[in-house]
């Protein structure tokens, strides 16, 4: 028996290093994010702070998508719907004179939880190509729903009179305030997701990704765990939507177009699925690439598309394979 307890001790030590590479990478990113605004004002270009906020918001969404795509092998092509639900939560509540960020987040999360639970329960009855297409179709359903909501501008969307308050304080009024609030949210949500992936639940989720039949053979019914992860992911994505509404001070169905869902997948894959820190970097890379190409040519989408096609075609095992080879595809255990 002694050899066994020794081994147990070894296990505990081996799996509890001071800081895993993933957390270190994330902390590095967070420090860089924190330094960006002062740098931008030093360069006399405060507009970057607003772009930065947009990047941080998409980083939150990419993080959320990674939770199911990277850790659960669920390729959701409808995640923009949750971004949209988040933005519309802000617009709808402001119609009732409610402008507090916490209430908005609460409402956005609740709406998303319901939508994710219903559409996820149906989508998760299927696999592979079906799952991708069905999540895409449900995303479009939400898109058309908000297009036909004439009370909120329909297709054209609606402008927001002011930014949200935080517990009644006007913290978000300045671009700096909004930026740092978003950064705090991102950091908090990163650690939340990180904890989840390391937890009992996370291990089950990853196990289902690796081999669902085996998981059933030891007594796990995959559906309930996948659905729970799907709902959590949807709720976190909606929080990104709340930020985006404040950043743009404008809400429209454009936030939930299927192109946005595609872009979220691009961010996750660029950064490396199943790494959490990777998709945050992926969001930065994808959006900066967009900005850069956009500055070069009005036809930047042509080049962005070309970039995607070439990335997939000229890495022998696809982007995912390339990243794994480069050591970015660190797999959760």
């Amino acid at each position: 028996m002694t050899d066994m307890t020794d081994a147990t001790r070894v296990t505990a030590a081996a799996t509890r290093p001071a800081l895993s590479g993933r957390v270190k990478a994330a902390l590095t990113l967070f420090v860089l994010f924190a330094l960006m605004p002062p740098l931008a004002s030093a360069l006399n270009d405060p507009f970057y702070v607003l772009i930065g906020t947009r990047i941080l918001a998409y980083a939150i969404a990419a993080l959320a998508l990674d939770l199911i795509l990277g850790f659960g092998a669920m390729v959701s092509f409808g995640h923009a719907a949750y971004l949209g639900l988040g933005t519309y939560a802000v617009a709808i509540l402001s119609g009732f004179g409610i402008n507090d960020l916490l209430v908005q987040i609460l409402a956005a999360t609740a709406m998303s939880a319901v939508f994710a639970a219903v559409t996820g329960a149906i989508s998760l009855r299927t696999r592979g190509v079906y799952f991708i297409m069905i999540t895409l179709a449900f995303g479009q359903m939400a898109f058309f729903f908000f297009i036909s909501l004439s009370a909120y501008g329909g297709d054209d969307g609606v402008a927001l009179a002011s930014r949200s308050t935080l517990l009644g304080m006007e913290v978000l009024k300045t671009d700096f305030g909004l930026y740092y609030t978003t950064l705090v949210m991102l950091i908090g949500l990163f650690f939340l997701c990180h904890r989840i992936t390391k937890s009992r639940f996370g291990r089950v989720l990853t196990g289902i990704r690796e081999n669902p039949t085996r998981m059933e053979a030891i007594g796990f019914a995959p559906f309930r765990y996948q659905l729970t992860a799907f709902v959590i992911s949807g709720c976190i994505t909606a929080m990104a939507g709340v930020v985006l509404a404040n950043q743009a001070q404008f809400v429209s169905p454009a936030f939930m177009s299927w192109h946005k869902s595609g872009e979220l997948i691009v961010m996750v894959v660029l950064g490396g699925p199943g790494t959490l820190a990777g998709p945050i970097a992926g969001a930065v890379a994808a959006l900066l690439l967009e900005e850069w190409l956009g500055a070069l040519s009005e036809h930047w989408k042509l080049f962005f598309g070309l970039f995607l096609v070439l990335m997939v075609l000229f890495s022998p095992n696809g982007i995912t394979g390339l990243l794994k080879k480069l050591g970015f595809g660190e797999k959760q255990k």
Partner: protein
């Protein structure tokens, strides 16, 4: 009321026939190659732009159509050889990314070549005007022509799938991919044929619809998603499923969009019914999809996994 219903029903059938042309290729590509192709809607758009160009150059819709078809085959072959062929063995995620990239490229390229303002294609003289249907009800000849042409292609596909060697391979491939390789068939050639056939049908749909729509860059997008719904409802790999799914989706979308609010008015007060109808109508096909999938996760004619 009856007249309106008949009119909407015919519109639904006309849309359904077009959706079938697009879905038929897509469902085969999914079923046989297990490849998800987001760029399928792009082909529909390209078909419309091709006929707009050729019809303008030749001054004739018919010459335009005649030139569009071989051009569509070339487009299909090129996309298959350059991009799709390398994706067959890849993960679905890679396929999503690459074909998403294709969509971005194609939309932008179309804007660069043809500009952003919508194009129009003149209706052929012989098919313009309307014919009386019943009583005072008239229906445009061109839409009837679309229905007839679509049904003819559907019949041709049906014959091909059921009575030819390629069709036999397609059916075998859709139900079991390994069987086809075991038969010693050159799988790459079969895939190229299937993809090009699907691409040509999608282009044809775009070309046929061009005279009654404005040809613009967004047209592939909405159709793509509807096509996905059709394929999912019908069952991946099933031509029969695609046909029934396409008609079902199109009729529900067209008829439901008009009659949903009318039905609602009988239970709600008019303004509430109008509001609810406007919101519900565009969601109907998705609700239909959800209901069908809830009962049959593999679609109406899909093999259960």
């Amino acid at each position: 009321m009856t007249n309106l219903f008949v009119l909407q029903l015919l519109n639904g059938v006309q849309l359904g026939v077009l959706l079938f042309l697009i879905s038929a290729g897509l469902t085969l590509v999914f079923g046989i190659m297990d490849v998800i192709n987001l760029a399928h809607g792009v082909l529909y758009m390209v078909g419309a732009y091709l006929i707009a160009t050729f019809a303008a150059a030749t001054g004739s819709f018919w010459w335009g159509l005649l030139l569009t078809l071989p051009a569509a085959v070339v487009v299909g072959l090129v996309i298959e050889a350059v991009v799709m062929r390398r994706l067959y063995a890849r993960s679905h995620l890679d396929q999503v990314l690459a074909t998403f990239g294709l969509v971005m490229m194609a939309n932008e390229a179309v804007k660069m070549i043809w500009g952003t303002s919508p194009l129009s294609v003149p209706m052929p003289e012989i098919l313009s005007g309307s014919v009386p249907l019943m009583g005072p009800l008239k229906y445009p000849v061109y839409r009837i022509a679309i229905i007839v042409a679509g049904l003819a292609v559907a019949l041709g596909l049906f014959v091909m799938v059921n009575y030819t060697r390629v069709g036999m391979l397609l059916r075998a491939g859709a139900s079991n991919r390994d069987t086809v390789s075991a038969l010693g068939v050159d799988i790459n050639r079969l895939f190229a044929i299937v993809f090009t056939l699907g691409a040509t049908l999608a282009c044809l749909a775009g070309a046929l619809v061009a005279p009654i729509l404005s040809v613009d860059t967004g047209m592939g997008e909405s159709v793509l998603i509807l096509t996905f719904v059709v394929v999912v409802i019908g069952g991946i790999g099933s031509i029969k499923g695609a046909f029934l799914g396409a008609l079902l989706v199109a009729v529900v979308d067209t008829v439901g969009g008009v009659f949903g609010p009318i039905l609602l008015r009988s239970v709600l007060d008019p303004s509430a019914a109008g509001q609810a109808g406007r919101v519900l109508a565009p969601m109907l096909v998705y609700i239909l999809m959800a209901v069908i999938l809830f009962a049959r996760p593999a679609g109406l004619f899909g093999k259960t996994a």
